[in-house]
Symmetry: C2
Subunit: 417 residues, 2 copies
């Protein structure tokens, strides 16, 4: 981990830049996969599974039960309750607004009918991501909820899928799984929106399909954590948080902004100790290579930097963190105080862990109940309303040279004269 | 306008299919424009304006004042108030949820800092679209609000831009304007999200840039209206509504679902009369060629059809329309009763007229206050919270083989033993 002093940094934007992949190369690699799945359906899925994952799949759909420990069942239950509580609080009350006498406007939410979840397999099979996506989908009232994940699907994922009411589970991964949910195949139904993280091929597939009008959750990049710590922060807490992010992948990035140079060195020492015992030590070390610490003069300066970096996860391990909430402009999810570790939010605090990376937090929100609904606007205009709003509509339509728009109102005005 | 009887229709999905354009051709035409703007900035913008619009632009930025009639000023003011009222009602109250003792979660909205609006010029310069985009942007608190529109920019657009607090206006149109706002040029600042309608090149540019992670409002296609009418509906009202949509463009589509065959024929007769006096008669006639009417057996059947079609605009010109609201699953904006003409919503009722077309209403909402903010989640966990949630996090992290995630919690648990 490099250490900078904020005064020595000429251009902060350079440090805030994420290491992007070459879209064009990725896209031209993924595009033919999408086309073949659209054309050949299941046959293409099985071919690619054999080609990329070396697995021969007989049945794409998985109906088998799964066994997990009672301890894990209990943990899933606690997480389920917390995530459900927080996302249920996002249900909107519909308010009717009479914008002028006789002109009533309101808005209602409707669930997106068919939703597809992609859950990566591989080094860490994220059963927690099933909770994060399926629970709000169920609260929203999505009718059809399907899940794709590369074979073999972990017992944890299968258990949570059943627990959360996922309707059907398919053992297929990669870009081909995304294509299957976008276009539909003989076995896998087409969905209206696709959710979930994945490797660069999965992400490229989602971005390409989005450009064809297929709805996705949010663009995704490598996971990130930015920690702001003061002289009061415990080095072992800070070190453990940085490592919990670093173990995600070698392309992950962790950033430490600290007001105290001594503290930074302590943290780095503790990291060296803690990292040695990690099973994913090699990955964590790789991530730390892309990571850095900055010594800042005060917390305000740190938050200014953080707003420009727009981190996926932001930990404020400082005194009275609530004082700084209003200053935070760009972040996915924020963890307040020494005891709010990122892993709490990753699993069970109740907030969603599907969050904007790569500075997308400047323009995107993380996944929430909103992600699973559309909001339809309604208006009801009475005769009185027509009298009140009519002349305005006529004048504006006239000014835009849209005579038929005007006529629709004029005819109504005349009818009630 | 073709007339079908619902019983004769074998496959409704065929009628619901929109006439799409060839993405690939469009994309390969637009891609080089985007690249040249990214590379050459203002120089490229001026070159393309001359090439495509035959206009030589000296200054990209427009600072001139504009004069419009007092009548139009008054109309804009009424529309402004209604739109502001409806969108202000969308401001969310932040609710803190204690998901379990000592674990507090909440969510706060933050404005997207820099927003770019694209306003088409050409046959109908939509000053109303400036109202629809700039008003919620201002309510959200967006700091920098810029507008691009092809030269010459209409007085109405310039007036509304000033009235709504748009910071800077640039006279550049087409795909090159979208690229300018996405990448930034010497004159035009880069923005965090791009809004606004446009022709197929503008749309292709937005979709291509979105696949590179640049945020846009919603995918766009030709405008549409679906009217559900019963035997009680006035043919002249229905005809005027269908024509108000048809005059938008030859690629627009209007659909009439009616329970009464006689009524359908009456409406078509009235259309023939009303269309003759329209300045945009040729366009409207073109649109009617892609349009159709369906005779349905009852309103339930009509709404079922409409949900599958997922119209941008839906008019319920029927008795007691509120009875059917709960059945409506997919639509952009809905107009209830005989006096709620679409043009009221297009201009001044208060709802937003930037809506999902081409059946995108199945997965997308129209533009609202939400479109101009990000929602950041927060969590604050106390020592008590760590005791309560700790074991759950440890167990789930263990099950995902993410030891460092577990450690971050274990260290905290141990610290308070």
């Amino acid at each position: 981990m490099k250490i900078y002093n904020i005064d020595q940094i000429k251009d902060i934007s350079v440090l805030c830049k994420r290491g992007g992949t070459d879209d064009r190369e990725l896209f031209s690699y993924v595009q033919p996969i999408l086309e073949e799945v659209e054309k050949n359906g299941d046959r293409a899925l099985k071919k690619f599974s054999e080609k990329f994952e070396g697995v021969v799949i007989k049945d794409l759909e998985v109906k088998s039960e799964s066994r997990i420990s009672d301890e894990l069942k209990a943990a899933f239950k606690v997480a389920y309750c917390n995530i459900e509580k927080f996302h249920k609080a996002q249900i909107e009350k519909n308010r009717e607004v009479e914008t002028m006498p006789g002109v009533k406007c309101f808005r209602e939410s409707r669930a997106i009918e068919r939703v597809g979840l992609y859950i990566p397999g591989g080094s860490a099979a994220l059963s927690s991501t099933v909770l994060m996506l399926a629970i709000p989908a169920k609260i929203a009232g999505c009718k059809e909820l399907i899940l794709c994940s590369p074979p073999p699907i972990s017992a944890g994922i299968l258990y949570v899928a059943k627990m959360t009411g996922v309707n059907r589970v398919f053992q297929v991964g990669g870009a081909q799984a995304i294509a299957a949910m976008a276009y539909g195949t003989e076995t896998i139904p087409k969905v209206d929106k696709i959710f979930g993280p994945g490797n660069q091929y999965v992400t490229a597939a989602k971005m390409l399909l989005q450009s064809k009008g297929i709805a996705i959750d949010i663009p995704a990049g490598p996971s990130e954590l930015l920690v702001i710590a003061d002289d009061n922060a415990r080095p072992d807490f800070v070190a453990s948080d940085l490592l919990s992010q670093a173990e995600h992948g070698e392309d992950s990035q962790v950033v430490l902004l600290c007001t105290d140079e001594k503290k930074v060195n302590e943290v780095l020492k503790v990291i060296e100790k803690q990292i040695e015992v990690l099973p994913r030590k090699k990955i964590a070390k790789g991530a730390l290579k892309n990571s850095f610490a900055v010594i800042v003069s005060d917390i305000d300066q740190a938050i200014e930097f953080s707003n420009q970096y727009a981190p996926e996860h932001l930990i404020l391990n400082i005194r009275s963190p609530r004082k700084y909430i209003n200053m935070i402009e760009n972040a996915g999810s924020v963890f307040l105080g020494p005891y709010s570790c990122e892993s709490a939010g990753d699993y069970a605090s109740g907030t969603n862990h599907t969050l904007p990376t790569s500075a997308y937090a400047k323009s995107y929100s993380g996944v929430s109940l909103d992600s699973f609904v559309k909001k339809i606007t309604f208006q009801e205009i009475s005769k009185e309303g027509v009298k009140n709003i009519g002349p305005t509509v006529e004048t504006m339509a006239e000014s835009e040279k849209l005579q038929a728009h005007k006529n629709a109102m004029t005819i109504r005005l005349n009818s009630i004269k």
